[in-house]
């Protein structure tokens, strides 16, 4: 028995962490948020060059053949740096399509095929969101599609099953988070004869990846709070020496650390197809969203007035966590899914 990361996994995470720390500074994130197309395109190219998009693609199809546990380690780094990366969408798609004989899998690894995902309807349909297949046409549109900008394909939910298709009109939705683009999306066509895994399993993978993103963002907010508390002085002392501040930091760490173990466990459970895997994945995103929200507001408070300003840019993390919480399963919706999964709903 060994509950922990392998040498390779630690190295993988270290590589991505270093890339994020060195190549994606806050200044760059500000430009992304301001919609600077040149910067956005360059970042996408740099991220593509990391060669991570085929992480979940089998080696036979040109990928790295790694697991969901490896993928969440990468996504955690992107959350830590509030990096807009296609990695999450590509990973969900690679998981949905691998071992199905789909040629798309190959394209994901090579970067020729770029997928957006539109799975939000699985737990929440508002304002008429939803795609309907009828004969050869797809009607309707879906809200909160991710990464469809510049994508060649989309993985979406239509008629309560998962399909791949060609994206149609995409209308960006303005959310609080300007670093990532979410869209209202229609579809040109649905691919026929493509096998995908069942929707619960694919959604579970999306959940652990979103949870990893939140975990990373929350870890960064905790680190920033601790660092700020060690610097900022009031009443002739650093504020981190006051228990009122110190205990807030301890509470953040006390919630975060077990959540990291939970996320590892949930991802591993998907990899080994454990019978508790789905419930654990849904509860992982629900729980990590809850503690993420707590850390987002608490870290902001530790930063005092500066936390509220644009100067330190803490709000990019705050908003990332806030958006992750609602997209692809709010905590409440996911807890209900977990209850259903365990036969606790009549």
């Amino acid at each position: 028995m060994e509950f922990g990361l392998s040498e390779d996994q630690i190295m993988l995470q270290e590589t991505v962490r270093r890339f994020v720390a060195e190549e994606v500074p806050l200044d760059l994130i500000r430009k992304v948020a301001a919609g600077d197309e040149v910067v956005i395109a360059q970042l996408a190219t740099d991220l593509g060059a990391l060669g991570l998009d085929g992480l979940l693609v089998p080696e036979a199809d040109g990928g790295a053949g790694l697991g969901v546990l490896d993928a969440i380690l990468v996504q955690e780094c992107f959350g830590y740096g509030v990096v807009p990366a296609r990695f999450l969408s590509n990973s969900v798609v690679a998981y949905a399509l691998r071992d199905t004989g789909s040629a798309f899998v190959n394209g994901i690894a090579s970067g020729e095929t770029r997928f957006g995902i539109a799975l939000n309807d699985f737990t929440s349909r508002r304002d008429g969101s939803g795609l309907l297949i009828h004969d050869d046409t797809v009607a309707g549109s879906t809200l909160m599609a991710m990464d469809v900008h510049g994508s060649t394909h989309v993985l979406c939910l239509a008629n309560d099953a998962i399909h791949t298709g060609e994206p149609g009109a995409a209308e960006p939705v303005k959310t609080i988070d300007r670093t990532r683009v979410f869209s209202k999306l229609g579809l040109k066509s649905i691919d026929k004869g493509i096998q995908v895994r069942d929707v619960d399993r694919v959604f579970a993978v999306a959940c652990v990846l979103m949870a990893a993103d939140t975990l990373g963002a929350a870890q960064c907010m905790l680190d920033k709070a601790v660092a700020y508390a060690a610097e900022r002085q009031q009443f002739g002392r650093v504020i981190g020496s006051f228990q009122a501040v110190k205990h807030l930091c301890a509470e953040m760490a006390a919630k975060l650390e077990p959540a990291r173990a939970l996320l590892w466990h949930a991802a591993h459970a998907i990899d080994v197809e454990d019978e508790e895997a789905l419930a654990m994945a849904f509860l992982a995103k629900a729980h990590i969203s809850e503690i993420g929200t707590f850390i987002a507001r608490t870290s902001t408070e530790v930063h005092g007035g500066m936390g509220f300003t644009d100067l330190v840019g803490l709000h990019y993390w705050f908003k990332r966590i806030g958006v992750n919480r609602q997209v692809m399963g709010s905590p409440m919706a996911l807890r209900e899914l977990a209850a259903r999964q365990q036969g606790l709903v009549a």
Binding site: M1, E2, F3, G4, L5, S6, L69, V226, A229, A230, V238, G240, S241, Q243, K246, H247, C249, A250, E251, A253, A254, K255, E257, P258, A259, A261, L262, W264, H265, A266, H268, D271, V272, A279, M280, L283, A284, A286, H287, E290, P331, M332, R335, E336, A338, A339, L344, V345, A346
Partner: protein, 397 residues
């Protein structure tokens, strides 16, 4: 990441499960009351012989004499939880004094106490906290004055569990009032029937006296009871305090309570509807399950760290704070789910689960405070886990 057991450990687990199953008839039941009930002592004896407790304690001191193996210890704990059989004795003598004596006791002390303690023949109580020394344990003032071959003790202890049943006490006393506060303390053992010791039960919010106060008036005890050295008691006590905190917040126990709560909500009804069918209660239940999963995974991570000889760091430091809080919340949800039946206590026709949820809700609050308060835990997490500034040290007098 590999959560499967190797063939050796899988076989070990099966063997433990079989042993427990085949010998379940030896286990004492709830009717066999009293710490020294013959059936309890016989069960403990059996468990030691089978290596299910006192596993790594050398055979010369009455233990089983196995090599330390964290994974095997974990498997044994899990199999006990699964079997529902009474666990081995785990009083403060066994969990705190025995490891201390093994490390620092004289040959005579080891000889005299370890085996009888393991077998449950010798019950101990812990004389640490005082009215003026709670979180600030090193402020103990119970005075021991040097008098030839003896010390003469005057003062008071509080929060002493099993003081009424105990044969012996392991105690922190002040032997040098002029030294800095951590340097004038001695760790000493003596019988509870020594003249001048008075035990008064301390009734707590559960209605029972789970703890006691112990008063010392000119209590004369031999110096041979000193563990390690005079005035080095703080070091001795610190070795075992870390042990105590590890015991509180065990995720296996929390999981067992959560499973009980799910069962309760599936069977109990209100207005003709199962409690689990109420969406608000169900949502709270699932939120707690997320936390239970997290603490279990955290426990697995700590076990792996220890197996590799690495420090678990933050994941270890948060267990007491998070685990005790979670237990309290599980009991809180059970009470809310039971509503007006949740406030019934002790006896009566409508009582559920013997009133144990209320008892736990109150007792668990005691555990949030005891064994290092939540606030002290947060200091430790911040200082040792996050390297934040230490609490200012007041002048030591």
């Amino acid at each position: 990441m590999d959560l499967t057991l190797s063939p050796e450990y899988a076989a070990f687990r099966d063997q433990i499960a079989d042993t427990l199953k085949a010998n379940a008839h030896l286990a004492p039941g709830p009717e066999d009351k009293g710490l020294k009930h013959p059936k309890r002592l016989a069960w403990q004896d059996f468990l030691i012989r089978e290596g299910l407790t006192a596993r790594t304690i050398p055979t010369e001191y009455g233990g089983y004499g196995a090599e330390p193996d964290i994974l095997k210890s974990r498997i044994i704990a899990e199999e006990f939880a699964r079997s529902g059989l009474p666990r081995p004795l785990a009083g403060q003598g066994i969990s705190m004094l025995v490891p201390t004596l093994l490390e620092l006791g004289t040959p005579e002390q080891k000889e005299a106490y370890i085996e009888r303690t393991l077998k449950g023949e010798l019950i101990w109580c812990q004389g640490y906290s005082e009215p003026g020394a709670g979180s600030d344990l090193a402020a103990v003032r119970t005075r021991a004055v040097d008098d030839g071959d003896d010390f003469v003790i005057n003062g008071q202890k509080i929060w002493t569990s099993t003081a009424r049943q105990a044969d012996m006490m392991f105690c922190l006393v002040r032997t040098d009032p002029d030294a800095k506060k951590h340097h004038g303390i001695t760790y000493i053992l003596f019988p509870m029937d020594t003249p001048g010791i008075e035990v008064r039960p301390l009734v707590d919010m559960t209605g029972a006296a789970n703890f006691n106060e112990v008063f010392f008036t000119d209590v004369r005890v031999p110096k041979s009871g000193v563990v390690f050295e005079v005035n080095k008691g703080w070091q001795v006590a610190n070795a075992t305090l870390t042990h105590e905190r590890g015991m509180l917040g065990d995720p296996n126990a929390t999981k067992a309570r959560f499973v009980e709560l799910v069962e309760l909500m599936k069977t109990e009804t209100v207005n003709g509807q199962r409690l689990i069918d109420n969406p608000v209660l169900r949502d709270r239940l699932m939120a707690l399950q997320g936390e239970v999963y997290a603490m279990q995974a955290n426990g697995l991570r700590i076990t792996t760290n220890r197996l590799k000889g690495e420090s678990p760091g933050l994941s270890g430091l948060v267990v007491k704070l998070q685990g005790c809080e979670l237990n309290h919340q599980i009991a809180g949800l059970a009470i809310d789910a039971l509503g007006e039946l949740g406030i019934l206590y002790e006896e009566g026709e409508h009582l559920r689960s013997g009133g144990s949820w209320q008892w736990r809700y109150m007792y668990d609050l005691g555990l949030i405070i005891g064994g290092g308060t939540a606030q002290i835990q947060k200091n430790i997490i911040a200082e040792r886990g996050l390297s934040m500034p230490r609490e200012p040290r007041p002048a030591r007098s």
